[in-house]
Symmetry: C2
Subunit: 418 residues, 2 copies
């Protein structure tokens, strides 16, 4: 088998939200996660489409990167256009034009990072919208109704986030509250499956516009979804262990997320925390590390048993002119690229690298042209999706550990020289 060809998945019947693993190497493994919109091969990087669009990319470009599963944010869609509007328009897949699997974050992180004047109480989180200052009340139950309306395949519990360097006391309080909220999420999640969603208010359509639904009763049925719990506990090993145990006592989950990392803590603390969670988590369920997206973090975390990743970093850095390469990041605005006719990455098969050179990309950023933001965002998403594809190839060939060591050495070498 060549280094770039990936064996076909094993002939295993995967139930709804079922997960199958193979090619284990230490904690690392390949996996197949079955969703109502297709199977996700893991390890996988999931691009983030905050507002039901991955910033700067069309859905067709996103497909071409090889992305399998795409995120969206319940917080943003709840505020605009509204979770009920997304549902009325046919749900998130129809709205965002993404045919593959999708996932929504509950908004716990966005309330923590974006909202103003937030008050966290046992009942839920009161906050003001970062858009217009309007007041909102996020309870575990409300978040389940919102995510059920939006309709992603995997939806996240409401959790309480705190600073990455928080002390033991506040870390424990947030972790324990997240566990209590998980239980309330589960109850409401099940109720919506059983009783159906609230009927939508009538909608005024412009003259000539087509009707939104054929059957209003069918529309009330909640789509098949999996609810993922989120491990919290800061960088305190015994809190992380307690969080996992609490989660596993609450229900039989289709997958588990690790949250509260990459929020200000040191990288070694992040890696150590993932390593603490690994032996506690069931090996037959996918593990999703939330909000982590630098190439070295992905490679290190797969080593520690993580299967799924998401992060806004590839598009955010792309908009700022920074591109991922196997030798670390490149800032395209630098004068050295002015007459450089090489692509961002030699041999990269993304649209950007096969069609445009560094000199032109630099010009686009100097001239503040939108195409530059697009092309670097596209390259970066392609890079991370491709990196996890390569990880699957290396796992299948039984050499993940040596490949990871070589990859990290090269990726970090230039930074080390400076």
């Amino acid at each position: 088998m060549s280094a770039d060809s990936l064996p076909t998945p094993p002939d295993v019947a995967l139930g709804q939200f079922g997960f199958h693993t193979s090619d284990e190497q230490g904690a690392a493994r390949r996996g197949w996660f079955n969703t109502p919109h297709g199977v996700v091969e893991t390890p996988a990087f999931m691009p983030v489409g905050t507002n039901a669009t991955v910033k700067g990319l069309s859905v067709h470009e996103l497909e071409e990167t090889g992305a399998q599963m795409v995120l969206s944010n319940a917080y943003h869609l709840y505020l605009r256009p509204g979770d009920k509007a997304v549902r009325a328009l046919g749900g998130l897949h129809a709205f965002a034009r993404w045919k593959g699997p999708m996932l929504t974050d509950s908004g716990g992180f966005q309330v923590f990072s974006l909202a103003q004047m937030r008050k966290v109480r046992e009942e839920g989180i009161e906050f003001q919208s970062h858009l217009d200052g309007s007041k909102h009340n996020y309870t575990p139950e409300a978040v389940m109704r919102i995510e059920r309306n939006i309709g992603a395949d995997v939806i996240m519990q409401l959790d309480e986030l705190i600073e990455g360097k928080s002390e033991f006391g506040p870390s424990r309080e947030a972790m324990e509250r997240s566990l209590r909220w998980l239980e309330r999420c589960r109850i409401e999640f099940d109720r919506l499956e059983r009783d159906g969603r609230e009927a939508l208010a009538p909608i005024d359509l412009p003259p000539g516009a087509p009707a939104l639904h054929d059957d209003l009763e069918t529309e009330r049925v909640a789509p098949p979804q999996a609810l993922f719990p989120i491990v919290q506990g800061g960088i305190h090993p015994e809190l992380r262990r307690a969080s996992v145990r609490g989660i596993l006592q609450t229900g039989d989950w289709h997958g588990v997320a690790i949250g509260g990392l990459s929020v200000g803590e040191a990288k070694p603390d992040m890696y150590a925390t993932i390593a603490v969670c690994d032996p506690e988590l069931p090996r037959d369920k996918p593990r999703y590390l939330m909000g982590v997206g630098f190439p070295d973090d992905l490679v290190e975390s797969v080593r520690r048993g993580v299967d799924l990743f998401d992060c806004v970093v590839p598009t955010r850095m792309g908009r700022h002119g920074t591109a991922f390469t196997p030798d670390g990041t490149v800032q395209i605005r630098r004068a050295e690229h002015r007459f450089d006719k090489r692509p961002l990455v030699e041999g990269c098969d993304c649209h950007t690298c096969t069609h445009y050179d560094r000199a032109y990309l630099r010009h686009l950023f100097a001239a503040e042209e939108m195409l530059g933001l697009r092309l670097l965002s596209l390259h970066n998403v392609h890079y991370l999706v491709g990196l996890m594809r390569q990880a699957r190839v290396e796992l299948a060939a039984g050499r993940y550990e040596s490949w990871a060591t070589a990859y990290l050495e090269r990726y970090r070498a230039r930074a080390g020289r400076k």
Copy 2:
């Protein structure tokens, strides 16, 4: 022949920059304009890529709109990245990745509309860059050297622009100066063809970057280009006639542009001025109306003998959320589109209309997402390119006049109702 199929061009051997016409209906006609990068079927709309990129669109999207010839701006490229940098990188086609015909405006209009502290003297135009305030001197000779470095197929003379409503006296002065500058442009244009371009200064390349040129002597040879003169004279018929006669006395041109319109004058004055130029201009050369790009203006101007158009309007309006439709413009931000699952234009075969509905496009603009700007810009460029394609079909079928009347009636009807 169906309404949408276009007959193949006649079997006529077109010389370099040759022009062949057929299917005349009054002043309107079909045409084929031969350039070193291919034949342009006219009437045609040319999208504008100010900074060697049509704002928001990739080259592949631009191709899909059916665009044949693309503009760029010598003023912008001279300031950034520099005309010599474009030349060092292989010229405009290689730089902008556009394989088809290209044209550069001389910068007369940009100096008029963008530059600060400009002083117009007989020698040329002194101005300060709108980017950094640096001082520059635009003479007819300098502009020819700049456009020869950039390397488009068709390049424009330096002309003096004035307000659209200017009185007879200043209009005459600017028109006569433009004629004198045309003569100086022609002499320098010919000299550069004969003697070759100035050698480029040596360029420092980053380690590992490929060399820019194999043969530095060959690189000095000016590419095959056509210089177009520009008719001026404001809205004063006798000045426009004098301008055309002066231009035709100065040389045997491959085409003639009509400038100084759509700069503040009333629309009836613009149409009347085009009609004044029509019988004065040679019928066997393409006529290019500069900077005009609303659908009704295109249809009216083809009636008055115009073959080529350019304008930033489709992308500028697209970025502001305004879309062209056969019923006039649509502002996608309006609340009425919130639940409207129709495309911008029913039956439109552009990527935007075949993949996205008004409700989602409205959401993208409400959320200030880049994809919205892209998708409306793409639709608008496709709309104008397609409108001129339809004009060719109607000309071929001998029914341009009745089609134009019906098109304009529908396009203007909704505006009339309000």
